[in-house]
Symmetry: C2
Subunit: 135 residues, 2 copies
């Protein structure tokens, strides 16, 4: 919890109780959680926590660059505290999202374009994970 506090400051985010709790969860659960998963995980120990706060908090984290929002899952937004260059895999069967780290750094280069100013890249893979392959 202390670390989350410090961590937030690095991104010039004022560390409220709620924000620290959310960041603590993100740092210790690298599962690319949805808003609902974060809310469900925290609400038992923070009964007054509002889901709107979780939305606000994640929006702020993304705005400040502390967290990356992933579009890989069309159903829900997912969030990743790991802001280093890496890809993601989502199992179409169970919906779990995993990191794909062994990609060439060149894949994350921003292509030259006269038509666009490109700010970020997202590399996503879809398929079936080990436990769902049978399906």
């Amino acid at each position: 919890m202390l670390e989350s506090h410090q961590y937030l400051r690095q991104f010039s985010i004022k560390p409220s109780v709620q924000r620290s709790a959310v960041m603590h969860f993100l740092l210790n659960n690298r599962i690319h959680p949805t808003i609902d998963e974060i809310y469900m995980a925290l609400s038992p120990t923070m009964p007054t926590l509002s889901k709107t706060t979780v939305y606000n908090t994640l929006d702020l984290f993304v705005e400040k660059g502390a967290v990356r929002a992933l579009a890989i899952d069309e159903k829900n937004a997912r969030y990743d505290v790991d802001i280093s260059a890496h890809g993601h895999f989502m199992c179409k069967s169970c919906g779990k999202v995993h990191d794909i780290f062994d990609l060439k750094p060149s894949m994350f280069q921003i292509p030259e374009s006269e038509s666009f100013r490109i700010d970020s890249v997202e590399i996503s893979y879809l398929g079936a994970c080990k436990s769902c392959k049978g399906n």
Copy 2:
């Protein structure tokens, strides 16, 4: 319209009036439209068309491999008739989605993985387009 008819058959999709109309729109409007854009474009000339049919139709097209569903836009699903290997750019300001064709073919290779069976890749870029750069 005739071509759409033929085109659907190539993917073993029975070409109903509605399906041909949707495919015709997709083939002639390479704008990665949302369900609503497709519905709005067709309903003037097909007043009885139901939005549910547009949903059903696109689901079928995707299932049969005639069309690709894009996750780049968190707000709405978007559809692309071009199933060749290419990336996409979305302007965060106006929301328009554009093709990015000049990417190395190697970027679309499926990475080796013992943990997953990877079926598809999606490469997405976010930023601002020419007309929105000012913002």
